[in-house]
Symmetry: C2
Subunit: 475 residues, 2 copies
């Protein structure tokens, strides 16, 4: 009898999780992973900190090399191998060895598609100029950092009315001008990253606020912080194209005029990478992501999908959503691998919980935003309170703003958002647990949360917000 | 028609919360608060930080003065007034004006007993010597700080093989030797406090570990930290008495020998202050605390109890417990006041959630400890994992140890304990919410928690511990 074989397409978060959990349950079966890039299993969420030089070596972002995967987990990893087609009838994949330019067919018993997401890159005039980046893969991060390193920014201000900027060779250079298109999480994190490298930073955001559909009680604080950190923010502004000199971008053209740019970062979101799946007749769902059931099965037998290429159930609305995040990719990958190995584990869904650091601000959210609740047609109200991260008496406490989105009548908690310099990141997890348990704000108000003066007020901001929301449930 | 009158006995956390919530609902009724001490509404949990000089002025610990209570909330506060008797038939209390030494009877329509807790002070030889302190009230804190201030410790090490210690008057003094009896939360917090003031600190603990019945996976880390901070820890040691010179304590006598002491702090727990209630025929429950139902009603009509004098339901076991904590006192006080005003709000219970800072360690717990689960006769197992507070790549992350207590078979989470230099305090609240929702560790493993490299690993330690525990549920 031949050994059973799992094939995984894509070797980053979901893919390597799937291969690993499969091998844990079926050590005697084979697991092949095909990854078209050079790297597998890296922490893409850390790229802003690699570019900022907080993390010096990109190898530190890699949790598993192909060699480690083979030696420690007995997984066969093929990098620079791109799956060009899936034959779901014969249960085979057609794989291109990019370096050798040869194609080979591999048969599978079980297949996990973990092709991830692709950065949205708008089809605008000049989009193909050099130095217009997106940031999704480790290679993206390496290229951006290399470009900044070579610009070589050293500020020299001695005895000069205006500072000089010199590169590593002592050549006089202007301060690099970076334009970030898109004010979402990645755009915001890259503001801090670029400012740490001394760049002049402008953010262009199409809507009326940064951070997508978060409540203005939160985004106002973030926007104020951007300004105080010297970031220029242009809201309600659309990019219309780019112009360059000698193939390198020099200007960003918008509906409100043009601005100089030595580096452009397009950070307007991700879309599922599902052309391959679609060609193979695998059904797509919300936002073009691969349609999966709670066991992460696609419509084709023996084929699973996981991570940024797949959809997920939202635990608040029970509807399918596309919210690509590393945490979900890891969880889904693990479950897809377990189920490919014969288990029947459910992926229960996502709450859209996310935390981010924007300069010295912690920003977090879980569940529905007001705009999302509105889109769902839910009758809701928004409650915002300002608390403190530590007891009033204890030194160095910081303000913390908590916003709840609550259903009218029932008082069900639909979502929460928090911002502050301290304690805003981890508090959201408590509210994510409340969403999982479908708690009302009455339930939230009753939580027995911890208290000590260095960490909280005796009424934690989570409870203060719940008590404030309770007053409005029946109004 | 006469105005309705609420009388509250005790003006700290529960008492002032009760009076305030009552007045919010019934602004036209009267609220009288009798407090035998000088101060009301202070944060006793901050006393260690007042003594350490992190908080300079004791007024910063006071959230409400009698004047503010009257002017802002229209509550009549009588400090230095001790309620000597409750006549539940006539609905009156007998109040001693301590300063004037006069007694007056006041009638009530509703009564809230919020007499708090008393520090346990063992009846040992020499216990009445000077400089043997307990720490519970603001006055306790003021006295301890005054004693240390007057000792006046300034270390002078210049040109001397041994350092000299001089007081504020330049008199040569030894380094003050403090002995803390009891290794619970308060004892541990006072270690940091005393060390910050330059005291030589010894802790005497009767059992085999600090922090009561916490798991040794946690207490071992704390004990190691005590040692590295220069605190001497004597475990399995019982105090048998004290000896002194000129009425001041000089030695602590134990079953393992005697040790010098200029200051002794007795920190072996609290008991409910319920003599008054008992004399009035109010039924007592667990640990001698006032027996209350879920509406915080005692067995006597119109009489409520709240805070450190009252019992509470434990949300894990559904049994009555006595766990006196400031958070519970505030919640119970508020509900007792609301119900005295005519509402029917339930106090749902406690999980025993507590967080504390011990030097640079954050220590937290919620739910049952292994010893408590054993006492309940539950078939459980303990899981401990070591995670990190930040992504591996991100700088300055710290180890974090998570211990779960899980029921065998069902996988129900019974309790959790966490220790680490970062991220251990707030993570416990997520697990407290899980306990409220009676989650299994399968549920915990599915939580959609936030992730960003500065705040967590992509598999949060909470999830890693749940996944580790899952493996043992069916064993």
């Amino acid at each position: 009898m031949e050994r059973q074989r799992l094939i995984v397409i894509g070797g980053v978060a979901a893919g390597m999780s799937a291969a690993s959990s499969f091998k844990r349950l079926k050590p005697d079966a084979e697991a092949f992973v095909f990854e078209k890039d050079y790297f597998i299993s890296y922490g893409a969420c850390s790229l802003p900190y690699y570019i900022s030089n907080d993390v010096k070596d990109f190898n530190d972002l890699i949790s598993l090399t192909p060699k480690m995967a083979t030696e420690e987990r007995n997984i066969h990893v093929y990098t620079r191998h791109e799956v060009k087609a899936i034959d779901t009838q014969k249960k085979e994949v057609v794989v291109l060895d990019i370096e050798k330019n040869t194609e080979t067919r591999y048969s599978y018993d079980k297949l996990v598609i973990a092709t991830g997401g692709l950065p949205v890159r708008p089809n605008l005039p000049g989009i193909d100029l050099n130095n217009i980046f997106t940031i999704r893969t480790l290679m993206d991060g390496i290229e951006i950092k290399k470009y900044i390193d070579e610009w070589g920014l050293f500020e020299v201000c001695i005895g000069s009315p205006e500072c000089l900027y010199v590169n590593r060779y002592g050549e006089n250079r202007r301060q690099m001008k970076a334009v970030i298109v898109g004010g979402g999480y990645i755009g915001m994190e890259m503001c801090e990253s670029f400012r740490k490298r001394g760049l002049d930073v402008t953010v262009i955001e199409k809507t009326d606020r940064v951070l997508g559909n978060m409540d203005t009680s939160i985004t106002n604080v973030v926007e104020e912080r951007l300004r105080s950190e010297g970031v220029k923010l242009l809201k309600n502004t659309s990019v219309e194209g780019f112009s360059g000199v000698k193939n390198s971008v020099k200007k960003v053209l918008t509906d409100r005029g043009e601005m100089e740019a030595d580096l452009v970062l397009i950070a307007i979101g991700a879309r599922p990478n599902t052309d391959l799946a679609k060609q193979a007749g695998i059904e797509l769902g919300v936002n073009g992501a691969i349609k999966v059931d709670e066991f992460l099965r696609t419509n084709i037998p023996h084929v699973y999908a996981a991570g940024d290429c797949a959809e997920a159930i939202h635990i608040v609305t029970d509807k399918k959503v596309y919210i690509p995040l590393g945490t979900t990719a890891n969880k889904q990958g693990r479950i897809a691998g377990e189920n490919a190995a014969g288990n029947n584990n459910k992926f229960e869904g996502v709450a859209g919980t996310a935390i981010t650091k924007i300069f010295d601000l912690e920003v977090s959210r879980t569940g529905l935003s007001p705009l999302e609740a509105e889109k769902e047609g839910i009758d809701f109200f928004v409650t915002t309170i300002k608390g403190r991260s530590r007891s009033n008496a204890y030194p160095a406490g910081k303000p913390i703003i908590v916003t709840y989105i609550t259903e009218k009548g029932s008082g069900r908690l639909l979502g929460a958002q928090i911002v502050g310099e301290e304690g805003a990141a981890h508090r959201i997890d408590t509210l994510a647990a409340c969403l999982s348990a479908r708690m009302t704000i009455y339930d939230v108000a009753r939580l027995d949360l911890g208290y000590a003066p260095p960490f909280a007020t005796v009424w934690d901001p989570i409870l203060i917000a719940a008590n404030a929301a309770i007053k409005n449930v029946k109004k």
